[in-house]
Subunit: 556 residues, 2 copies
Amino acid sequence: MLRVIVIGGNEEVGRNMVVFEYGTDKNNSDIVVVDIGMQFPEEDMPGIDYIVPNASYLKGKEKRIRGVIFTHGHLDHIGAAPIVLKQLGYPPVISRELTLALVKKKVEDGDPGAANRLKTISVKDINKKLSLGVFKTKFFEVEHSIMDSMGVALETPVGTVIHLGDWTISHDPADGNKITYENLSKLKAPRILLLESLGAIKTGTSSEKIVQGNLETLIKSAKGRIILATFASQVKRIKLLIEFCEKIGRKVALDGYSMRTNVEIAKELGYIKVNKDTLIPINDIHKYKDNEILILCTGAQGEHNAALNKIVTDHHRFIKIQKNDTIVFSSSVIPGNERSIQRLKDNLYRKCDNVIHSDIMDIHMGGHSNASDIQEVIKMVKPQYFLPVYANHFFLKEAVKRAVEVGFPKGKTAVLDNGHILEFSKKGAKLRKEKADTSYVFVDGLGVGDIGHMVLRDRQALAEDGMYTITVVLKAKSKRVVNTQVTSRGFIFVKDNFDIVNETKQKIIKIVSDTTSEDMKLDPKEIEVAIRERIGEYLFQKTQRRPMILPVVIEV
Amino acid sequence: MLRVIVIGGNEEVGRNMVVFEYGTDKNNSDIVVVDIGMQFPEEDMPGIDYIVPNASYLKGKEKRIRGVIFTHGHLDHIGAAPIVLKQLGYPPVISRELTLALVKKKVEDGDPGAANRLKTISVKDINKKLSLGVFKTKFFEVEHSIMDSMGVALETPVGTVIHLGDWTISHDPADGNKITYENLSKLKAPRILLLESLGAIKTGTSSEKIVQGNLETLIKSAKGRIILATFASQVKRIKLLIEFCEKIGRKVALDGYSMRTNVEIAKELGYIKVNKDTLIPINDIHKYKDNEILILCTGAQGEHNAALNKIVTDHHRFIKIQKNDTIVFSSSVIPGNERSIQRLKDNLYRKCDNVIHSDIMDIHMGGHSNASDIQEVIKMVKPQYFLPVYANHFFLKEAVKRAVEVGFPKGKTAVLDNGHILEFSKKGAKLRKEKADTSYVFVDGLGVGDIGHMVLRDRQALAEDGMYTITVVLKAKSKRVVNTQVTSRGFIFVKDNFDIVNETKQKIIKIVSDTTSEDMKLDPKEIEVAIRERIGEYLFQKTQRRPMILPVVIEV
């Protein structure tokens, strides 16, 4: 019996993680994990750094994990590795060179010294087979925007699971290396295809060759410096850009931690081949003429702390925008970042006459497929089951529609939620009733999973209308109020609102006397409840706002 | 001397307002205002309801305002009318019928009884001229997504200002009523063209006729109910949809306050002509068969409190989603709403098999021009000066590029910021050094302008890491700490973190003793500063979070 459990990535973009478990005995099974990605927080998760997959399902089963396979080195596939691999007791990690190096770096950054604990199996020869317990494992090349992307096929007695990771079909690759997926149809049936389906409604298409061509034309014709912002994850494009600059004699300076890290690692492994004087330190750019410089940096999403934002707000140590700079956004807009990008562009347009972005020119494409690619790959692989994964629910539903449009039987498709457990046996597929726990695990500062929905709700409430703290000091015997202090943040300016503060203090005296029983007994909790209610009501009537009210009642 | 002052709308979308002032004498001038719109808050403005234009420039000049002209009835043009008209002492309001009715409704909703104070001049005959002080005023038809949209031309001794409001060139209008702007070239030179330029980089185009056709096909072929969400501001489309439903025998139920209001007003004025049994109350839908119903509602942006979200989350009193419903989003995505829309779609796809949105089919277009329309209108009007307005800075800069591309001299263009004062005299145009105050005026509950950047920063900080309140009660004489209370919200769960709370209390005793001088004098402020610093440091080291720390020190 084979179980497919989507731990994360099927109701969002990010925290991708799938578990494959084979075994009939409750006390015994073989487990393979594919990807352990991180997710960026949503708008209603203030203060959260990021989200990691919830590995509860694997608790107590750590010893049965035969391997964790990383399909490629992007953060939504490897970003939670430092935390989750540790939770799992460091099972063997399997991937290709670049991915392994990025995972190691990530683990070491997150927990210095931990990289030594990693047991790694490098997929040097993509055609080499590997046995992971009962799983006969094969790997295959996948087209994506970073080198060493691969898919995985896991053969079991009841079927072969095929997982492409992130993928596209490059009809015209910039590096000329065209990949097809036809061979997968030769794998043992029934074939169960897990397909990343982010592009399920995307119709338009471009090609990396066109993108690269446009970028090269821009670079050649720029009269001054070029500041090119792109995703640090676009390692293939970055490689071609650096190599092109070397050819035409521009120096390349890198900026942004992830940009420098990724290029450094790719260079060490020989994926980026340049003379040692092509890449120059960012603090050396003043030594060259403007038209000899290209700065390759992060921050195309308007991230506050990234290189590009520092440059445009004059907070960068070595770069100040000049009117004759050419600024290029070789990037798309990640949903949720629209406004910060707009703000960034507004600022750039104020300081520079040449801002080029993908709204204006074809200078970016993601490494993801579109709707017709999904149909094409289904025709190539000829699976018996189709499970779209790694996207929001509605994209997965649309991916099923794409499959049905080319004749795939709807009954052999399934849109899994996070936590769903789909079981395959000789008899067929069956969705189990119970679900794995996939509730959010938030990372905030040093805390992993200690922030719950209650704390988040408080943060949202505090953001909405601020807070109003009332400290009441009472004489224990007389129940007389001897002191009331009011402090407020994010609600009103106390200095401008003495009348509200004074009236609050008056009301407190009344509330305390109302809440004190005849025998002079007094329950601080009861007073606090009354304060919350009556002061809350008063403030709302005065301001139509509902700050969080925090009464502190102290007897002395 | 003519002054053009952009009060709002040139660095954002929303709070549109432009002031035209003619007069050489400091103590005497004629003023005309065009539009008084509202803006929705940005992400970094938690708790803010909306933003209104800052009318400081008009302070003390209220008596010189000859009129406030509203180009059309959308919220970014009339939404701040209740607040700003009141501030200005209710100057005469000039517009066409539907706009006036919407302004009146808005003013009355915001301040019951205030509509009576409005002095209105209705532009019943678009060709009628009007003198507003020195300004010889002409109006003209403009193509936009709401009826009664108009532009305005203000002739003065030094030039004619032409302002189109929001506009497009409809190459194929759904209602067959084609408008051109060629006549404007006959207005007295120099012509100063203010042009809304939101579409400065938009290339693709559709037509309302295609959109309307697609919607009609959807409606005709739907087997069950149709729930169609669109902007309540799209009054032209709404009219055509209701009239089409009448033709094919579907009943229309309206939901959402703005949807009902807009249709009600448009119907009263005769802009929507239907039999009285075509529009049915929402609580009557159970009386009809599924395929006899179309529900026209708000909430296509995923707004939490709007009709569509209530429907999908089962909070609607009369509507529960059915599998065979057809749900149509005839709308675009307003930047900033991507994620809430995605969430809404995910939920809809779970409950319904037929969700149609404009990513999938051509069922929406805005009422705004695209890049080539901007070039076309410039050729039609043949202005001497070109001032793009009503969009983010970078769109305005791009609009200038579009003008220059068709031969317009760059020296005769200006991209104004909010608050810029551009002066026209017989000698030409000149940007003044001083700026009008256009800082944000936030509306939050009953407060207008009382929330400043300090309060907003506090809200952001509270949202990020929550708060930690420490109340310390001291004996006045002995300086002994008699009581310390710790309360926290949005930071950690106090119940799970007794060690942190206890250690805080220990530290407080130490801080107080360190801060008390030898002669036992004690400055509560000084203790508070020390608490903030040292407890802040301690908490950061423990958690890597920085909650807002609120010490309250009380002597008894």
